[in-house]
């Protein structure tokens, strides 16, 4: 417990490193492309377009405001999936630093989630453009947006710590997690409404953390009919559980990581 707190405070002390790692990731990713930074905003737009073309005929009539439904789902999913997926290699890719300089090692997966948050913030621009142009009335729950983001970030950090630590010892985790993510995406009601599922599956849906975060996000952006209290309770519980598990796995193994990366 004491060691955990020490490490937390050390991570806070290294916040400049966290900032630089996030900035490096963003700079490097777009430095060489012609459109550069615009890609951050184009990416969710194009993905939404694809989903829209394929699925609007199928589900367009079952969901009011299908455009807003899809883009909110995609953006929230990307925030989670991008961060946790890339972070599986967080320790291995930074082997050079971890094995030479004393650092709070957890900072590497956390920084990857951080750059995913940065991307998310930029993708809010096309999101609001679409919301406004499609004539949607923004939700009065919007002050809850920071809470929603905090919850999904804590949840993602927990998963990132788990995946990145396990990958050091069993490399297969990278591939297993890739498959899990694909299945998870289809189970998260991103481009179809939950109501098309059989009753039994709808109940199971409340065990899917991403379903709650995506719903919370939709409630914050445009859909005031959603049961926001329920999603908040479930979302908070899943964040705490995920973070507790991730931190424990990381912390139990932290001294061993250096011998295996």
């Amino acid at each position: 417990m004491v060691r955990s707190l020490q490490e937390f405070s050390e991570i806070l002390r290294y916040k400049e490193l966290l900032r630089n790692l996030v900035a490096r990731d963003i700079k490097k990713r777009y430095k060489r492309s012609t459109l550069g930074f615009l890609w951050v905003m184009l990416d969710p737009l194009l993905m939404m377009l694809v989903f829209y073309i394929i699925f609007s005929g199928l589900f367009g009539k079952t969901v009011g405001n299908y455009t807003a439904y899809v883009i909110t789902g995609i953006i929230m999913w990307q925030l989670f999936a991008q961060g946790t997926k890339v972070s599986s290699m967080a320790f291995i890719h930074n082997r050079n630093l971890i094995s030479k300089i004393h650092l709070p090692t957890a900072i590497f997966p956390i920084a990857i989630v951080g750059s995913s948050v940065a991307h998310f913030i930029f993708s809010l621009v096309p999101l609001f453009i679409i919301i406004l142009f499609s004539g949607t009335i923004p939700s009065y729950y919007i002050p809850l947006l920071p809470v929603t983001i905090a919850l999904i970030v804590i949840f993602s950090v927990g998963i990132s710590l788990t995946i990145s630590t396990l990958t050091v010892f069993f490399h297969d985790v990278v591939y297993i997690y890739d498959v899990i993510l694909i299945g998870w995406m289809y189970l998260s009601a991103i481009f179809y409404p939950v109501t098309i599922l059989p009753q039994k599956l709808q109940i199971l849906m409340s065990l899917n953390p991403l379903y709650h975060y995506i719903s919370l996000f939709r409630a914050c952006i445009y859909d005031t009919t959603l049961p926001i209290i329920e999603h908040l309770i479930f979302g908070t519980a899943f964040s705490i559980i995920s973070f507790a598990i991730g931190w424990t796995i990381y912390h139990q193994n932290r001294d061993k990581i250096i011998f295996y990366i």
Binding site: E16, R19, N20, K28, K100, I101, H102, D255, F259
Partner: protein, 245 residues
């Protein structure tokens, strides 16, 4: 002050033997992915380094010199023994570890100094001095991939020594850079010594050890072979390995 008591560090040594695809497959299904062996990188090492001492560490390749530095700087936690280190540590271990070739010199200075735990403000204050010492003013806004390896090590040395540490850890890094920069770095290290900063110095260059160190530790296969005055230890080491001087 640094106090190490009965330190032991163990590594896993992985052996990947070349084998036919068939035997590889059979082994795979038997669950034998890799053969591992343990290697004791350090065995029962105890050292006391009082403040202001500069300790040279010598020994053959794989003797455990770098591992000992990693224990002191807190990168490796030993399986046995206790470590007490008081003071801010600046590691000068393989300087390029924290650099990114795609970023500019300026961006790399910020990145690297934050790896050492500095805040933005502290780096702002040190920035000009770092650039000045490295003599890389004209290149500071070019990406590091355009630098020569000597230039990169100059930048690394400048960052790590602008830190004002209590303990400086130097692992075979003086061999880089041109003659004039080498002299400059040597002067800077001696300045640190005069200021009473504790120094850990690993090198295969006995002249450098003689110049910098007040005490020398000789490691051999992870064990302490000898420790004492530089002259005595170095001459014993050289006659042991029959190196003509």
């Amino acid at each position: 002050m640094i106090h190490l008591q009965d330190i032991s560090v163990r590594y896993r040594l992985i052996r990947e033997r070349r084998s036919t695809f068939q035997s590889h497959l059979i082994n795979y299904f038997k669950g034998k992915r890799m053969e591992t062996e343990t290697l004791w990188a350090l065995k029962n090492i105890s050292i006391d380094v009082p403040e202001g001492e500069s300790l040279g560490i010598i020994g053959h390749n794989g003797a455990g010199k770098s591992t000992l530095l990693k224990v002191v700087s807190g990168v490796i936690k030993p399986v046995e023994g206790s470590v007490q280190v008081k003071g801010q540590i600046a590691p000068l271990i393989e300087l390029s570890a924290g650099f990114d070739p795609e970023l500019t010199g300026r961006e790399n200075i910020y990145l690297n100094a934050s790896i050492l735990g500095f805040s933005r403000k502290e780096i702002d204050n040190k920035f000009d001095r770092i650039v000045e010492f490295s003599e890389l003013q004209e290149f500071v806004d070019s990406p590091l991939k355009n630098y020569s390896s000597g230039m990169i090590s100059r930048l690394g040395f400048s960052i790590a020594t602008e830190v004002d540490p209590d303990i400086l850890i130097i692992d075979e890094v003086l061999s880089v850079g041109d003659v004039s920069f080498k002299r400059k770095s040597m002067e800077r290290i001696l300045e640190f010594r005069k200021k009473g900063i504790t120094i850990f110095f690993v090198s295969h260059n006995m002249d450098e050890i003689m110049t910098i160190c007040s005490k020398v530790l000789w490691l051999d296969h992870g064990s302490k072979k000898m420790t004492g005055e530089p002259e005595a230890v170095i001459s014993a080491y050289e006659s042991y390995h029959m190196l003509p001087r």
